[in-house]
């Protein structure tokens, strides 16, 4: 009974949503707009495979790859830098402040960061790199902080007690132990970020997304189709590469 009532409620709320948005299926299915949409859809075939455009798409794919890789790497450094205070190693006030900052970085979506960075750094891939780095730093920083909190403190304490300075004790006592976990988190985020880097360009932050946006603005659907295929291929390649790297790191145990 409750199941049917919840189903009814969901259908009613959805109906209200359609009504509120004023989506008329009648208009969409009218002969004229149907013809227009068909023309538009047919325009995507065949994809543009001229040598010049393929070369540009490859360039765009490399740019997207670079945005995701550099952005993730920057984020890993920033994340580690913030994770040390966030794990409570520099006292409670620093812990609270670092956590607040991490939450802030994380809760703003990549695309909003991208719009802000386009204002700060101008149109282009650098804005995309910064946007990815800022959001991902928030994500990785939190994961890194949890890892640091859960790692056994004995090696570091042993080094401290035998007289080594704090920074060196961290570098040689803590970091080697948590490194595989941190690398695995970073690679996992990289897989996510290649998807993001492909679409950040829609707000002007470089890479394949920017090419897609421009092709569609110029009504060149054939080009757009090529770019979309390139996005899918790039994501598949990075997934495979990252899976292989993680397996390799897991096996070599370093």
């Amino acid at each position: 009974m409750t199941a049917w009532l919840s189903l009814l409620a969901f259908v009613l709320i959805s109906g209200a949503s359609f009504w509120y948005l004023g989506i008329g299926f009648g208009d969409l299915l009218a002969a004229e707009s149907r013809g227009k949409m068909l023309d538009y859809a047919v325009g995507f075939f065949p994809p543009d495979t001229s040598a010049a455009f393929i070369a540009r798409t490859l360039q765009g794919s490399l740019e997207t790859l670079a945005i995701s890789a550099i952005g993730t790497l920057l984020a890993a450094f920033m994340g580690l830098f913030l994770a040390v205070p966030a794990a409570g190693r520099l006292g409670l006030p620093a812990r609270a402040a670092a956590r607040l900052l991490l939450n802030f970085l994380r809760s703003i979506p990549e695309l909003v960061w991208a719009m802000l960075m386009v204002l700060a750094a101008g149109l282009g891939p650098f804005a995309g790199t910064l946007a990815l780095a800022l959001h991902t730093a928030g994500v990785l920083g939190r994961l890194f902080a949890e890892t640091l909190e859960n790692t056994p403190p004995e090696p570091t304490l042993a080094l401290r007690n035998s007289g080594s300075p704090t920074a060196l004790a961290f570098l040689y006592g803590t970091l080697p132990g948590v490194m595989p976990q941190l690398t695995s988190y970073t690679l996992y985020r990289w897989e996510n970020n290649i998807r993001m880097a492909a679409v950040l360009g829609l707000v002007g932050a470089g890479g394949l997304g920017m090419m897609l946006y421009m092709s569609l603005s110029l009504f060149k659907q054939g080009e757009a189709a090529t770019v979309i295929v390139a996005m899918l291929v790039l994501v598949a390649i990075v997934d495979a590469l990252s899976a292989w790297l993680r397996q390799w790191l897991g096996r070599s145990g370093s």
């Binding site: 969901f10 949503s17 945005i67 719009m115 204002l119 700060a120 101008g122 829609l202 946006y213 979309i228």
Partner: protein, 276 residues
């Protein structure tokens, strides 16, 4: 006192140095490709623009008219997410039935499989993969050009990309379940749909609903972001305010966005706990 070793000696120094150098060499072209240049952040022009823009972030714009506008776009975003998820479920359910092997004669039926089953199942699986591999914001951009600016593009973008995800997860849930009840029903002479409805569906239902609710929560976040390409809701409003460099409006909208995400999180957690 341990004094025998000099403090600068690190047995792992050489491999670490080599690894770092190799990484830098590998990433160097990346820096070129991304036009990596922190100097652009602090040059005079961008400092002026950003300074002025960030300076207006506080206080947030709280005038009656603007709040009304933000409230309306928030409702619109919620409606887009709900309508999109509804359409996605309506599309995904039949697709998941077609794709699932739980209903195939070869798995639960008394006879061996039929090649026609695979012949239909395979393209349907590919369709699901294509639907979910293209990011929802790309669907939104494509659809904005087909059906015009506004919430309709957002609803259809969510419907398309989420039907791919839901369809896949639905059929995985069926296939993970116990097939013995369905097999018993079919052995006793019931049809396949009946065997599914009474042998598989009731056990899978809580998981199906729980995952769909989680997807609705994702759809709320996605529909904000899709607004950036003109698909209506809070995102479109944010894009406008940002383009006009109106920091006060941007901070109000961002605050609203956080509230909305918190609300969606809460509702989704509540519903899923009620199910468990």
């Amino acid at each position: 006192m341990p004094v025998a070793l000099s403090p600068s000696r690190d047995p792992a120094a050489f491999p670490r140095l080599a690894f770092a150098l190799a990484a830098i060499l590998l990433l160097w072209p990346g820096l070129e490709l991304t036009e990596f240049d922190p100097a652009t952040l602090i040059d005079k022009r961008s400092r002026e623009v950003m300074g002025k823009f960030l300076g207006t972030f506080f206080p947030p714009e709280l005038s009656q008219d603007f709040l009304k506008l933000v409230f309306k776009s928030t409702l619109e975003t919620l409606a887009i997410a709900t309508a999109g998820t509804f359409l996605a479920i309506v599309l995904a359910f039949p697709l998941s039935l077609v794709v699932s092997r739980s209903l195939s004669i070869s798995r639960i039926g008394p006879r061996t499989g039929h090649w026609i089953g695979d012949f239909i199942r395979l393209p349907a699986r590919w369709l699901l993969i294509v639907l979910r591999s293209i990011p929802e914001i790309v669907w939104a951009l494509l659809l904005v050009r087909a059906v015009g600016l506004g919430p309709a593009a957002g609803v259809f973008a969510i419907a398309i990309s989420y039907s791919g995800m839901l369809g896949k997860v639905y059929f995985e849930i069926y296939e993970a379940g116990d097939t013995r009840p369905a097999r018993a029903l079919m052995g006793a002479g019931s049809g396949r749909l009946a065997a599914f409805s009474y042998g598989i569906f009731p056990m899978a239902l809580p998981e199906l609903v729980s995952y769909s609710v989680y997807r609705w929560e994702c759809a709320v976040r996605a529909s904000v972001v899709m607004g950036f390409v003109g698909a209506g809701g809070l995102g479109t409003q944010l894009e406008l305010s940002m383009r006009m460099l109106n920091g006060g409006e941007v901070s109000t909208i961002l605050l609203m966005f956080f509230l909305l995400v918190l609300l969606a999180d809460g509702v989704s957690a509540l519903l899923r706990r009620a199910l468990a």
